[in-house]
């Protein structure tokens, strides 16, 4: 079909720049790890605009690529549009949840399991039980992970004898406006007296960290999705998405033919893609609580979906 000899090609399509210090960087790191550990040669293309999703997918499929990955569920629609015309190509959306064809196999990190760990940390860190969160946008997985986080943190705080802990949730409606992240966090801190912050909004989170630093007294920040501990002293612990493991897991499944289509492949604590990381000297007691949480999930002792408000 195609003149170029690329019929073994594999590519990862990224919606943002690989140096965004956030979502795209994490996925890029996953790709690098897969290439190293599985001896593959996955290419990447960064910063693909929404308007170009379809044509980019199609362009690679046309050239005979056998695996096309997209970093983000926003690729779901485009992938399913293109997939039906290219049965020989497998489409894998990271975070995806739509699989209408046999060659579409989204992989899905159960982010609410990660936020469960973050919630445990927050519940231990808070001193006044006021817990703040900011999201980049509102969608179902986001609601789920925030629900889990808030409930778990509140429970933890209550268990430590803090009176009626409370959560404050705000939506920045942006994944990139750093400035807004800072202003919103400042306001959350000053109006709600929040003392632990949790932000899942890419670069918006960077602004939030600055605000936590500048607050008086400083506000603790639970890092999420990547290891944010080095950014600032207010981040003492992060729940890192180990996309290296996640990618190696997914690409490995693809290579050995176990990545079936028309099905969403979820991974989480059991697959060890969520790793808590701590600064030196971080309370061992809290670390133990987190480990305990990990084990609970691994042993199916807890059903986190029960924490969802809406199910």
């Amino acid at each position: 079909k195609s003149e170029t000899d690329e019929s073994d090609g594999m590519v990862l399509i990224l919606p943002g720049p690989i140096n965004d210090q956030s979502w795209n960087a994490t996925n890029y790191a996953g790709l690098v790890a897969a290439n190293e550990q599985l001896n593959t040669n996955i290419e990447y293309v960064e910063n693909v605009k929404d308007a170009d999703f379809v044509s980019t997918f199609r362009s690679y499929a046309e050239r005979g690529y056998k695996l096309i990955m997209g970093a983000g569920s926003q690729f779901d629609t485009a992938a399913n549009t293109v997939a039906k015309d290219y049965p020989d190509t497998t489409f894998v959306m990271v975070n995806g949840s739509i699989a209408e064809y046999d060659n579409v196999a989204p992989i899905f990190p159960k982010e609410y399991e990660a936020s469960y760990l973050a919630g445990i940390i927050a519940g231990e860190l808070t001193t006044n039980g006021k817990i703040g969160t900011i999201s980049g946008s509102i969608n179902a997985p986001m609601n789920d992970l925030l629900d889990v986080y808030e409930k778990v943190a509140e429970e933890g705080a209550a268990a430590r004898g803090i009176d009626s802990p409370e959560s404050f949730r705000a939506n920045a409606d942006s994944w990139s406006d750093v400035n807004k992240g800072k202003q919103m966090t400042q306001t959350t801190i000053s109006t709600n007296n929040v003392d632990v912050m949790f932000v899942y909004a890419n670069q918006v989170g960077l602004g939030a960290i600055t605000a936590c630093e500048e607050a008086d007294p400083q506000v603790k920040f639970v890092g999420f999705s990547s290891n944010q501990n080095d950014i600032s002293e207010v981040v003492q612990a992060s729940v890192e998405f180990d996309f290296e493991t996640f990618y190696v897991w997914a690409v490995g499944k693809f290579l050995d033919g176990t990545l079936e289509g028309k099905k969403v492949h979820a991974a989480g604590i059991k697959e060890e893609i969520f790793i808590p990381v701590y600064e030196e000297g971080f309370s061992q007691e809290i670390q133990d609580k987190v480990t305990e949480g990990i084990n609970k999930v691994k042993n199916d002792e807890i059903d986190l979906t029960e924490y969802f408000y809406t199910n």
Binding site: D177, L206, T210
Partner: protein
């Protein structure tokens, strides 16, 4: 409450720097439509300078240079080559976006953890900052905000009480009169643009070096245009511009306050749109305009 007002004041600082500089260029008859790009170049240059040297001062100097470079190109094309200002601005804003993002990649490659510099700190002024209510709002701010307090009266003085101010005002009203009086019209205009470049550079760097301590390509996100609009709102007068900048700063601060309040009834998009709607309404309802008569018209001698 006090916090919100202090934040509002802080947020209005870069807007004021931008808007005052816009007021001066527009008084001389040129719109600086590259303002958004100049902000971005300032934010970028400032961050690069500060990160590499480790000194905020050098950062701000870099910011000024970056802003001036952009408005210099703008000045050559619009004033010397007499090309259309809106159009040139559009091109330069696209270029600035490409350039800043591209050069950031060139300089820093693909960093794993976010690059940060320590932002400019607030300095509480002894005694004054202790005044109840007023103190924490006005006298616990950063240096650039303090400088802002002086910019408006200084601008007023320059514009209305000095000979150069008279020349600037006349250049926007009737450049021919200025030419006939032996003053080089284009030089006045380009000078204003270069000064604007410096101011916008600082304003842009305010975001990367004072508010945040980091740089992303969306860091300005239309705030240059807000400064541009404030100049119109302020009716091309220093105190009007001050009012406009404070209004926008306040709107931004209050909007964010609403965003973090739970159970809000008004959609936050409304607050995002509010300053723009306000500008439109004010522009429509104001009946007396002080718009420089030759704003946007290149001066053609021959």
């Amino acid at each position: 409450m006090i916090d919100t007002l202090a934040t509002a004041l802080m947020m209005s600082t870069p807007l004021l720097y931008g808007a005052i500089s816009e007021m001066f260029t527009e008084r001389s008859g040129v719109m600086n439509t590259s303002i958004e790009g100049a902000f971005l170049m300032g934010a970028f240059g400032g961050f690069v300078g500060a990160y590499i040297s480790g000194s905020l001062l050098i950062g701000f100097i870099f910011a000024i240079i970056s802003g001036v470079l952009l408005t210099f190109i703008y000045g050559i094309v619009t004033v010397k080559y007499k090309q259309h200002q809106v159009v040139t601005g559009t091109a330069l804003n696209i270029l600035a976006l490409g350039l800043a993002t591209f050069l950031f990649r060139v300089i820093f490659g693909i960093p794993v953890i976010p690059l940060k510099v320590t932002p400019l700190q607030t300095i509480a002024i002894p005694l004054l900052s202790k005044i109840p209510f007023v103190g924490p709002i006005f006298f616990d701010q950063n240096l650039l905000t303090y400088i802002m307090y002086f910019i408006v009266p200084a601008s007023f003085y320059v514009l209305y009480k000095t000979s150069y101010g008279l020349i600037i005002r006349s250049t926007g009203e009737n450049p021919e009169a200025v030419d006939v009086a032996g003053v080089d019209v284009n030089r006045v205009r380009i000078t204003m643009l270069l000064i604007a470049g410096a101011f916008c550079g600082i304003a842009g760097a305010f975001y990367s070096l004072t508010i945040l301590g980091l740089f992303t390509s969306s860091i300005i996100g239309g705030r240059g245009w807000i400064a541009f609009a404030i100049c119109f709102l302020g009716n091309w007068r220093p105190y009007g511009v001050l009012f406009g900048a404070l209004a926008f700063g306040l709107a931004e601060a209050i909007g964010i306050r609403f965003m973090v309040m739970e159970g809000m009834v008004i959609p936050n998009e409304f607050f995002i749109a509010l300053p723009y709607i306000l500008t439109i309404i004010l522009t429509i309802t104001r009946n007396s305009f002080n718009i420089p008569a030759k704003l946007g018209v290149p001066y053609n001698k021959e």
